[in-house]
C-alpha cells in the first residue's frame, strides 16, 4: 500500500530530569492511514504525541507535515494546521451542555444555534449521535468521548490523535467507534491511535510503531502479526500468565445486601441495591465502564461512605456504619483507584504512606504515639517483597512512577494479613511486568484464604484472575456468575451493551 506521507517524524528526542522520554524516534504516517503507537505505560507514547500536538517541545529532531517543516509552539497552532487530539482524560465541564463545551474549545465559536446545528450534522454524518443541548454531567463515558471527538471533527482535521480511546467503552461501543474511525480514514483523515490493547490494534490499524523505553523497537503491520509477537516486542521479554491454584471456597467473609447510597462525588453515580457475597479464597471481579459507580462502591466498602449497619457484613459482623479505621480492625483493607491523592499522600514519604493504612493492623501506634522504627520496617518490608524500585523509604510518593507506587500501595494492603481485600483498578497505568506481579500477589492472598473484590475496567485482567464475575452499570450490580464459559459478547451485554448507541450506524438518529 503506497500512500502520500502526511506526517514525517525524524530523530525526535526529549528528556526530562532523570529520564529520556523519547530517544531518536522516527516514523511516518500516510494520508488516511490508521497508525498505532504501541507501548507499555512509560514507554514514551504520551510524550511523543504531546510533541506532535504542540504541548511539549522536542529537544532534538524535526517533524514535517505534508512536506513542510512542522514545529507547533502550542496546541492552537497544531489545530490550525489540521492536527487534533482526543485525550484519555476528558477536559469537559460537567455543568455545561455539549454545545457550550465544544464552544469553549474553539478559537472563534459561531453563535450557539449555528454551532448546535453543526454538531448535529457532524454527529449524524459520522454515526455518533449526540444531543448538543444535553448536560455533560448526565452523559456516559462513551458519550463524553463523542463530545471530544466531535469537537475535533468540527475542525476538519487531517490527523486525529486518539490516546487510549477504548478504556472507557464497552465492547459494543468500541465497535461503533471503530466504524467511525474507519469512515474517517476512508475520507483521508489519518489517525494516530495509541493503545496497549493488541487485539484492537490488529482489528483497526494499518501500521504500527512499537516503543519501548522511549525508543522505537519495531514496526509491523498489525493484521499480519500475532498479538503475542507484538506483546513481546512491547515488553521486551516473554510473559508468563499468573499461576492459579484451585482453592476450596470457605465461609462468606464479605456480604453486601441491598446497598444503596447517594454519591458523595459531584455528578457521581449513586449505588442502587447492590448485593453480593465473597467467600474465603474467592476472587470476585467487578467490571464496568468508568463512571458507573466504581469509585462509589469502593468508598462504600472502604468505609469512607457509610451506610446502614447491616448492609455490609465483614466476617458476619455488621460493618456498614463503621469508618475506615474500624473496618480495617475488622479485617477489610481497600486500595482506591487514584493513587496520587487518595491511596497515597503524594508529598509524604513512603514511610508515612505506609503508616497511612498500616497503623491499625500492623500495630504501628502505642496509645496514639507512632512507632516510627516499626513503620520504617513495614515500609522496607513492602519495598522488598513487592520489588518497589526506589532509592529508599524516605522519598516522596510522587517521585515514584505509577507502576512502582502501585506495587507499594497494593503491597501495603496485602501485607496486613487481611481477610477481605477490595481493590479498584489494580493495574491501571502499570507496565505489564508489574501488572503480572500485582495479579500474582492478589491470587496468592486469595489462596491463603482472603476474600477479594477486584473492580477493574480491564476485562482481560478480570477473566484472568476472577472466579466470579459481575458488572457494575449505572450503579447497579448484575448477579455474580462464574467466569468459566463467559464470552466477551455476553460481558458486553451485561455492561449495558452500547448504551443505545448502536442505532447510529443503522439509521438516522
Amino acid at each position: 500500500m503506497t500512500r502520500e506521507t502526511l506526517l514525517n517524524i525524524r530523530g525526535i528526542s526529549k528528556s526530562y530530569p532523570g529520564v529520556k522520554a523519547n530517544e531518536d524516534v522516527s516514523f511516518s504516517i500516510g494520508v488516511g492511514e490508521v497508525h498505532a503507537l504501541l507501548g507499555e505505560n512509560g514507554a514514551g507514547k504520551s510524550t511523543l504525541v504531546k510533541m506532535i500536538y504542540g504541548l511539549v517541545k522536542p529537544d532534538e529532531g524535526s517533524m514535517e507535515l505534508r512536506g513542510k517543516s512542522y514545529a507547533p509552539a502550542e496546541p492552537s497552532e497544531a489545530r490550525g494546521l489540521g492536527v487534533a487530539m482526543v485525550f484519555q482524560h476528558f477536559s469537559l465541564f460537567e455543568a455545561l451542555n455539549v454545545a457550550e463545551n465544544v464552544a469553549l474549545g474553539m478559537e472563534n465559536p459561531p453563535p450557539m444555534r449555528e454551532l448546535a446545528a453543526r454538531i448535529r450534522a457532524v454527529s449524524e454524518e459520522y454515526g455518533l449521535p449526540l444531543d448538543p443541548a444535553r448536560m455533560v454531567g448526565d452523559l456516559s463515558a462513551g458519550e463524553r468521548q463523542r463530545v471530544e471527538i466531535i469537537r475535533c471533527l468540527l475542525q476538519d482535521p487531517k490527523l486525529l490523535i486518539m490516546d487510549e480511546p477504548t478504556s472507557v467503552l464497552t465492547p459494543q461501543e468500541v465497535e461503533i467507534l471503530f466504524k467511525t474511525l474507519r469512515q474517517l480514514s476512508a475520507e483521508g483523515t489519518a489517525i494516530l491511535y495509541i493503545s496497549h490493547k493488541l487485539e484492537e490494534i490488529r482489528a483497526l490499524c494499518d501500521g504500527a510503531t512499537i516503543l519501548r523505553r522511549g525508543k522505537v523497537v519495531g514496526t509491523c503491520v498489525p493484521r499480519e502479526t500475532t498479538a503475542r509477537e507484538m506483546a513481546e516486542l512491547m515488553v521486551g521479554a516473554t510473559l508468563t500468565p499468573p499461576e492459579r491454584r484451585a482453592t476450596a471456597k470457605g465461609e462468606v467473609v464479605l456480604g453486601v445486601t441491598d446497598l444503596s447510597a447517594a454519591s458523595p462525588i459531584p455528578f457521581g453515580t449513586s449505588l442502587k441495591n447492590i448485593a453480593f457475597t465473597v467467600a474465603r479464597g474467592e476472587v470476585l471481579g467487578i467490571a464496568g465502564v468508568a463512571g458507573n459507580g466504581q469509585d462509589e462502591l469502593l468508598l462504600a466498602l472502604s468505609g469512607e461512605l457509610r451506610t446502614g449497619a447491616d448492609r455490609i457484613r465483614i466476617n458476619g459482623h455488621a460493618a456498614g456504619d463503621l469508618g475506615p479505621s474500624e473496618r480495617r480492625k475488622a479485617g477489610l483493607v481497600a486500595a482506591p483507584e487514584d493513587r496520587y491523592g487518595h491511596g497515597a499522600a503524594p508529598d509524604m514519604s513512603l514511610v508515612e504512606n505506609a503508616l497511612l493504612t498500616g497503623a491499625i493492623r500492623r500495630n504501628l501506634t502505642r496509645n496514639g504515639f507512632i512507632d516510627w522504627a516499626a513503620t520504617r520496617a513495614f515500609a522496607d518490608e513492602i519495598i522488598q517483597t513487592y520489588d518497589v524500585r526506589t532509592p529508599g523509604n524516605h522519598v516522596a510518593a510522587r517521585a515514584l512512577s505509577g507502576g512502582n507506587l502501585q506495587k507499594f500501595l497494593i503491597g501495603r494492603e496485602l501485607d496486613q494479613s487481611p481477610q477481605v481485600i477490595v481493590i479498584n483498578q489494580p493495574t491501571w497505568g502499570v507496565d505489564a511486568a508489574a501488572a503480572a506481579a500485582i495479579r500474582q500477589a492478589i491470587l496468592n492472598r486469595a489462596a491463603e484464604g482472603a476474600g477479594v473484590v477486584v473492580i477493574s475496567q480491564d476485562l482481560d485482567e478480570l477473566l484472568e484472575i476472577a472466579d466470579n464475575f459481575a458488572v457494575l452499570n449505572e450503579g447497579r450490580l448484575t448477579r455474580p456468575r462464574t467466569v468459566e464459559g463467559l464470552t466477551i459478547d455476553e460481558i458486553g451485554l451485561m455492561m449495558g451493551g452500547a448504551h443505545g448507541m448502536e442505532v447510529a450506524h443503522h439509521a438516522e438518529a
Partner: protein, 360 residues
C-alpha cells in the same frame, strides 16, 4: 526566560533556607523603602535588628523581647496546627480579645478576694473564652460549610466592639474617675501575672508558650493526631481514606488555636498590659499568622520566628521613637517578611530553569 519546574522531591535545603533568605530580602527591600523615606537604611536596620539585643538599652529591651514573643509563639503554634490541616483560622486576634475579656471578667468578679485559686480559674476562663469564640466559625463550617477564613476574620471586629464595650461599660473600673479601662491587675496580686524573674520579661505566658511549643512538637512528629493533621492538609482524600473525620478535625484545630489565643490574651491582660482597655490588643493575633509561616508551621521554628518577630516589634518601636519612622512603615516591613517568605517558598517544591527561547 525563566520558568519553574517541579522537583521530584521537596528540597531539604530550601525547606530550612527560605526563612533566612526571606529575612535577608526583607532587610534589603525594607532598606530601600526606608531610604526612599529619607532615612539611613543601615541605621534603621541596625536599630531594628541589632540594638534591642546588643545596643545601649539592651538590658531593658531584651526583657521586652520575651514579653512580645510569648503571646506570638502561643498563638502561632495553635494556628500552625490548623494551617497544616488546611483549616484557616484568621481570627486569632478576636479569640485573643475574648480570652482576655473572659479571663479578666472572672478575676474582676471576685475582686478583691485573695485566693490561690483565682489565677488558675482565670487561665481556664481565658482559654475557654478563646475556644468558644473559635467554635463559632468551626461549627458554622462543619454544619453549613461556611468559609472559616471570612467568619473568623469578621468575628475579630465583633470582638473589638465587645472589647470597647467592656472597657467603657461592664468591666470599667468603678474607681477609675470615669476613664475607660478596667481595674489594673498589678494592684490585685491574686489575679496578676507578674514578671517571674526580674529583668527577663518571663511571665506565666512565656512559660506556657515554651511548654506548648514542646507539646506541639511532640504531637506533630510523634503522635497520630499530628500525622492526621498533616495528612489532611496535604491530601484531604487520603486523610478520609486513612479514617480522619474532617469535621472533627476542624473542631479540634479551631478549638486548640482559639484556646491558645485566649490564653495568650489572658496572660497579656493580667501581665504586661495590666488592664482591659479599648486598645489593649496590639495585633498579636494577626502577627502570629506571619510567625506561624515564618516558623515553617513547625513548633520549634515558631519559637525562633516569634523571637525574630518580637525583635522587629521592639526594634520597630525604637526606630519609630528614635528615628521618627511612622508605625505603618514598620508594619509594611513585617508584612514584607511574610510576602518574601511565601515567594521564596516556591523553591522548596520547584526549581528555576533558564530556557533560551527557540533553542529549547
Amino acid at each position: 526566560m525563566l520558568r519553574l519546574e517541579k522537583r521530584p522531591n521537596p528540597s531539604k535545603f530550601w525547606q530550612y533556607g527560605t526563612p533566612v533568605v526571606a529575612v535577608a530580602l526583607t532587610m534589603i527591600v525594607g532598606g530601600i523603602l526606608f531610604a526612599f523615606m529619607g532615612k539611613n537604611p543601615v541605621e534603621v536596620i541596625r536599630t531594628i535588628f541589632w540594638d534591642p539585643i546588643f545596643g545601649e538599652f539592651a538590658f531593658y529591651l531584651r526583657g521586652q523581647l520575651l514579653v512580645k514573643a510569648g503571646p506570638l509563639i502561643l498563638i502561632a503554634i495553635g494556628l500552625s496546627l490548623g494551617f497544616r490541616a488546611g483549616i484557616w483560622n484568621i481570627g486569632a486576634e478576636g479569640q485573643y480579645i475574648m480570652g482576655a475579656i473572659c479571663g479578666a471578667a472572672v478575676g474582676l468578679a471576685v475582686y478583691p478576694t485573695e485566693s490561690r485559686l483565682i489565677f488558675p480559674a482565670m487561665v481556664i476562663a481565658g482559654a475557654l473564652g478563646g475556644w468558644a469564640w473559635a467554635m463559632i466559625p468551626a461549627i458554622l463550617k462543619t454544619r453549613f460549610n461556611t468559609n472559616e477564613i471570612l467568619v473568623s476574620l469578621m468575628l475579630v471586629y465583633v470582638a473589638q466592639t465587645i472589647l470597647a464595650k467592656a472597657s467603657t461599660g461592664f468591666l470599667k473600673n468603678p474607681e477609675g474617675m470615669g476613664f475607660p479601662g478596667s481595674r489594673n491587675f498589678s494592684s490585685f496580686p491574686a489575679a496578676a501575672n507578674p514578671e517571674l524573674i526580674a529583668g527577663t520579661g518571663i511571665h506565666w505566658g512565656v512559660i506556657a508558650a515554651f511548654l506548648v511549643a514542646i507539646v506541639g512538637w511532640v504531637i506533630l512528629s510523634r503522635h497520630i493526631i499530628g500525622f492526621q493533621i498533616k495528612l489532611s492538609g496535604q491530601a484531604p482524600r487520603a486523610a478520609r481514606f486513612h479514617g480522619v473525620n474532617p469535621s472533627r478535625l476542624v473542631v479540634l484545630c479551631m478549638g486548640v488555636s482559639g484556646g491558645l489565643a485566649g490564653l495568650a490574651g489572658l496572660f497579656e491582660v493580667t501581665g504586661p498590659a495590666g488592664q482591659i482597655s479599648i486598645d489593649f490588643n496590639v495585633g498579636y493575633g494577626f502577627t502570629a499568622i506571619i510567625v506561624a509561616f515564618l516558623g515553617r508551621l513547625n513548633p520549634i521554628g515558631i519559637v525562633f520566628a516569634g523571637i525574630l518577630m518580637a525583635l522587629t516589634y521592639v526594634g520597630g518601636e525604637m526606630a519609630a521613637t528614635n528615628l521618627g519612622l511612622p508605625a505603618a512603615a514598620i508594619q509594611v516591613f513585617q508584612g514584607m517578611l511574610l510576602f518574601f517568605l511565601l515567594g521564596v517558598d516556591v523553591l522548596t517544591n520547584f526549581r528555576i530553569r533558564t530556557a533560551i527561547l527557540g533553542v529549547k
